[in-house]
Symmetry: C2
Subunit: 201 residues, 2 copies
């Protein structure tokens, strides 16, 4: 289970899309939300759009790995699709913030790899937030404040990538994946393999 | 500090040489030994050849990160060159066995990355030990037993690589290096960097 978090504007979305393209063994966890579907959004691709009662039921039955209330709408990560993908041998990527990461880490402390992506500079962060927004100065300033808040949680992550260059950052995420898969405790069946090597002596 | 251990015949020497070629930031730790220099060996390249009294002094003054007695000769890792390389910003690679690894881990538990390399199969291990040795059946069998003993310690390592293919294994070691360098706690100065990103908001 791979968590990518970052402040808005650090390049996380681009990195995670490129990663999904290049890693056939990687599935993106789709969040559930109670907010209405926007034009262009597809149910099950962008979000699982669910009614409030359904969301409540999932939370009550511990079927949410994490959930939060944002501007009056609920967002969460349903547990079932994650467990289904994992049991098929897929890795699962989560595009969630520090609050979601804390909740997921609480539930599956040993099977989680947390990467935090930082922008290379304040100038670049500002540039990206402006570029994205056809918004007022005030809205952009609110986004910058939110980014500063998100970044304050960098120390809760296992790895930190400063996104100077998309290709470099993508390669770094892939190196982390490769390394994590080589960790002794993640290699199922290694004990039997070594015993077969040793036993045949 | 990177430890590569493996049974003889698993391909470790080839991997470590290729790694040193490709990683300019990586220095090989040269062991000290009391055994006599053999023809072709170069002092300071293959080993630091030291007299018994000098070896004793280094051990007594805690100047050895690890040491062992093998067939009447002493072998050890002098601490000073390792610390000098680290303080110059180099990574240091150790080609030591499980006993040495335990001793080094005891002294620097937080700054050590331990990789164990396994042969792909018993057949391949036998083939390599035979290919290397113009030796009797008995000598080869003794080597196989030593390999089995070394392999029994695989679970004391952070990462395990099964060496099916040299290039794949080399890439895996490099991915581990990349990932370890991206670990939050290894990135010195990150706190200041994040504060500068946040503070300028």
């Amino acid at each position: 289970m791979l968590v990518l978090s970052s402040p808005s504007g650090a390049g996380k979305t681009t990195i995670s899309r490129a990663l999904l393209d290049q890693e056939p063994n990687m599935t993106l966890s789709i969040s559930a939300t109670t907010r209405p579907r926007r034009p262009g959004e597809v149910d099950g691709r962008d979000y699982h759009f669910v009614p409030h009662e359904e969301f409540d039921r999932l939370v009550k039955e511990s079927q949410m790995l994490e959930h939060a209330l944002v501007f009056g709408h609920r967002y969460g990560t349903p547990r079932q699709p994650v467990e289904a993908a994992l049991s098929e041998g897929q890795d699962v990527m989560f595009d969630i913030d520090w609050q979601g990461t804390q909740q997921v880490a609480d539930q599956v402390p040993n099977d989680l790899v947390r990467i935090f992506i930082l922008p290379p500079s304040t100038q670049e962060l500002e540039r990206r937030l402006y570029a994205r927004a056809q918004d007022t100065e005030e809205v952009v300033r609110a986004r910058m404040a939110k980014a500063a808040d998100e970044m304050s949680h960098w120390a809760e992550y296992d790895y930190v990538i400063v996104n100077h260059d998309l290709n470099d950052s993508l390669a770094q995420v892939q190196a982390i994946l490769t390394a994590e898969r080589l960790k002794r405790e993640r290699q199922i069946g290694l004990r039997d393999f070594v015993e077969s090597l040793r036993g045949a002596q």
